[in-house]
């Protein structure tokens, strides 16, 4: 086969133009990711999908597959990096999983389990961030936002609304809302928007459906996040 590269020494076919992550997904191989979802423009900011391509670190969600490439995904060193990334995202925000409605369906939490994060390791940064509960159908808890910009891309590129944006630099980077008051209720946002569905963590939450699925029965309670590769889908809570 011509269009083939290897992941952990295993041959993987790809279609021209596919990224390493897309080709891996199609082949049922799991590469961790947070800011990637199939329908949206490439982003490449979370760095969870970091792999080795011919010995060099690259993000699998942006790097195109190429003939003969040797990609390493599962190495102790890469796993340690992924663990550090998850730890950094935890200490950067305020994540109290037991009190979070997304627990069990949260990709950040699931990756914490996947990469055996036993503690946050780094000193918590405890940022002072707020909650926007203004909208009748949806709540945003900025404490849990990991700046993956999926909502930004979904609202801009799919909903055609540009409700969300990221402002600020470095650790001050934060999500802002396009409305005269800066509140979600005064924006063009609707609960039927694609942007309402994409948050990988518990930052954008629908109101009125909380705990419809009991904790313990949620997707990542039942299966590890790496199992998603087989279904090629990101499980959703209903």
């Amino acid at each position: 086969m011509d269009n083939e590269f290897t992941i952990d020494e295993q041959p993987v076919p790809f279609k021209p133009g596919q990224t390493i992550l897309e080709a891996a997904k199609a082949a049922g191989i799991y590469i961790p990711h947070l800011c990637f979802q199939a329908d949206f423009k490439r982003h490449g900011g979370c760095k969870m999908c970091t792999v080795l391509v011919n010995g060099r670190t690259q993000t699998a969600c942006t790097h195109k597959a190429a003939v003969g490439q040797e990609v390493d995904v599962n190495t102790p060193e890469l796993d340690a990096m992924r663990r550090s990334l998850v730890q950094m995202l935890f200490v950067e925000g305020n994540h109290f999983c037991p009190g979070c409605e997304k627990s069990g369906a949260c990709q950040l939490q699931a990756l914490g389990y996947e990469y055996e994060m036993m503690s946050p390791h780094f000193v918590e940064l405890y940022p002072s961030r707020g909650v926007d509960a203004s909208h009748p159908d949806v709540l945003i808890d900025f404490n849990r936002c990991i700046l993956c910009e999926l909502c930004v891309r979904a609202s801009r590129d799919v909903d055609g609304k540009e409700v969300f944006a990221v402002a600020g630099r470095g650790l001050d980077a934060h999500l802002i809302i396009n409305s005269p008051t800066g509140k979600l209720v005064d924006s063009a946002f609707a609960v039927t928007d694609r942007a309402a569905e994409v948050c990988p963590v518990g930052a954008i939450l629908k109101k009125g459906v909380g705990f419809a699925t009991a904790i313990g029965d949620r997707p990542y309670d039942r299966e590890s996040i790496s199992a998603e590769a087989e279904s090629c889908e990101i499980p959703e809570v209903r």
Binding site: G45, T57, S84, V91, V123, L147, R169, G170, P180
Partner: protein, 594 residues
């Protein structure tokens, strides 16, 4: 507030209400209104027909744009390590006290605000400040007092003593680049060679980028020229944000003929008709003068249509001002910024030579790189390549600052030893030299025979000298703060990692650190290098890592663990846990003695 909307209206008109001019519009509006109030932001968004969030994200990205009221006099103290060494901290405190202000606060009458900023490129004549983005050099206590008085009486900046704003070139050594160029000579030479001929000379010269990465310039030109599409751009990277670097300032001030004609030659070779100079906000003092140079060049037929009468050689240059942000020196971030957006680095590939400014093939080159093109046009590539070393051809400008008698600009052929530079600049006993700025390398005396060249010590030109009394830990801590302040926030490892690194350095500085933190610093440096999205994050741990490797006692002196023997041994206390888990691997042991 009719007046405010007039200001906005005029700025919008000047820029034809083009959203890609957002950053320029905001800068100009703020120069008149002192800050971007919410209603100003709304007027601008409405005028451009963009969501308010686009305006907010730009305002909040750049250090010199404010969405909170700031003083009519906005004073920023350059806080590079070289400013520290020249005593800026005491002067900063003195000014705050005189103006009865706290850091970052605006005075009750809206007169002034005083804060710190990253290196402003005046290391050879610090301590330096910016007042409403205009550089004031050689600060003394007396000068601080005078400035406070001028602020008190509300004297317009234009009436302040001119000597406050005097910026010296401090050229200490010249070879070929720092020599005057007869206007038009390089252009004529390039035209005589023809587009392909000039391209061949570029490649023959083996010129490599002076902005740090050392990419072969001819190859870059060729890539852009061969990329499909009719429109191409040349960008002259004058962001010069690397702490300790100030050579581009001198080139733009006194050798603008070389820089501007170099840009035009690049345009000629690449087939670009438009060039931008991305001038860092800190060099606001150069803006008008540079604009005059461009205008007179156009008036004399050295810019515009059919340059020097050569049919089809059309090229013009426009200045874009930055607004505070080291990351905007990174090529893809710079192009984002040119498009009026926050300066966040793009995903690569595609490379800039095929998809750059507004999606068109774009060459981003350092000021010094473009200036060298005039030499190549005149003397030819082979002659140029005779200077320097085989793989690092030509000369290099070195920006020398710190503990030496003659700080300033030194031009050498590549291959010069570090020891030679130290000798020339009149350095006494030296503890270390930081070469390449905050992202560079720390060099100790054993290495002074090493050479400045891409194949040995590669640098964009910063050369900061530290004498025997300097504390290398504090040098590294200054740089750690720099990176945390300058991280763009796009990627996790740099956004969070630089903050953690800064916090750990502060903790150690307070005497509360231990070997645990020291080990974390080492891991962080490696982690950021491997996982970051751009060069900023990749190099953000270098200074701390080098300091740790080469000046470990500077850290150990501060570690709590050295002063206090803990009552219990943590390592021993872990033994039951190791037994229970049947582990005895390295991870199950602490990296501390006793």
């Amino acid at each position: 507030m009719a007046m405010n909307s007039d200001v906005v209206g005029r700025a919008l008109a000047r820029h034809r209400a083009d959203p890609t001019r957002l950053l320029q519009i905001l800068r100009e509006v703020q120069e008149e209104l002192d800050w971007i109030a919410p209603e100003t932001a709304r007027d601008i968004a409405d005028g451009l027909g963009v969501p308010i969030t686009r305006v907010q994200s730009v305002v909040q990205f750049y250090s010199f744009l404010y969405d909170k009221p700031r003083g009519r006099y906005r004073v920023l103290f350059s806080d590079n390590i070289t400013d520290r060494m020249l005593g800026n901290a005491a002067l900063f405190e003195h000014m705050l006290k005189r103006l009865k202000l706290r850091r970052g606060q605006t005075s009750w009458d809206g007169a002034a605000s005083v804060d710190l900023t990253s290196c402003t490129g005046m290391c050879d004549q610090g301590p330096a400040i910016l007042v409403n983005n205009f550089a004031v050099t050689r600060l003394t206590r007396k000068r601080v007092d005078e400035i406070c008085e001028l602020i008190r009486i509300g004297a317009p900046l234009g009436e302040w003593p001119a000597e406050f704003f005097h910026v010296d070139d401090n050229i200490r050594r010249r070879e070929t680049l720092l020599t005057p160029l007869e206007p038009g000579a390089a252009l004529d030479a390039a035209i005589a060679r023809g587009r392909q001929g000039m391209m061949d000379e570029m490649k023959r010269s083996n010129l490599r980028g002076r902005g740090g990465a050392g990419f072969p310039t001819g190859t870059k030109f060729e890539g852009a020229r061969n990329a499909p599409g009719a429109t191409r751009y040349i960008v002259c990277n004058a962001d010069e944000g690397e702490p300790g670097t100030f050579k581009d300032r001198v080139l733009l001030n006194s050798f603008s003929t070389r820089v501007l004609e170099g840009m035009a030659i690049a345009g000629y070779v690449v087939g670009a008709t438009k060039g931008f100079i991305y001038l860092r906000g800190e060099y606001r003092h150069l803006q008008e003068q540079l604009q005059r140079d461009i205008d007179s060049m156009r008036a004399s037929g050295r810019l515009g249509a059919s340059i020097r009468g050569a049919p089809g050689f059309d090229f013009d240059i426009e200045i874009h001002m930055g607004a505070g942000g080291y990351v905007c020196g990174e090529g893809t971030a710079q192009v984002e910024s040119l498009e009026g957006k926050p300066g966040r680095p793009r995903v690569r590939p595609p490379s800039m030579v095929s998809v750059g400014y507004l999606g068109k093939p774009t060459v981003v080159d350092n000021v010094e790189t473009l200036a060298h093109c005039t030499e190549i046009a005149i003397e030819g590539g082979a002659s140029f390549a005779r200077r320097g070393t085989k793989t690092s051809t030509g000369t290099k400008l070195v920006s020398v600052s710190g503990d030496c008698e003659r700080p300033g600009i030194y031009e050498y052929q590549f291959g010069v030893t570090i020891g030679r530079i130290l000798q020339d600049c009149g350095a006494g006993p030296v503890t270390a030299v930081q070469i390449g700025g905050a992202s560079g390398v720390l060099i100790t005396p054993e290495e002074f025979s090493r050479r400045i060249a891409f194949e040995d010590v590669s640098t964009a030109g910063a050369f900061m000298v530290f004498g025997p009394d300097r504390d290398i830990f504090e040098v590294a801590r200054n740089f750690a703060h720099f990176f945390a302040h300058e991280s763009c926030g796009f990627c996790t490892p740099c956004r969070v990692g630089t903050a953690i690194q800064r916090n750990i350095m502060d903790k150690i500085a307070e005497g509360r650190g231990s070997n645990y933190e020291v080990n974390d610093l080492k891991r962080l440096a490696e982690f950021m290098k491997r996982t970051s999205h751009c060069g900023l994050g990749e190099t953000a741990g270098n200074a701390v890592r080098d300091a740790l490797n080469k000046f470990r006692p500077a850290f150990e002196r501060r570690l709590r663990a050295r002063d206090f023997a803990p009552a219990i041994s943590l390592e021993a206390a872990l033994e039951p846990a190791r037994r229970i888990t049947a582990r005895d691997d390295a991870e199950a042991h602490l990296d501390v003695e006793g």
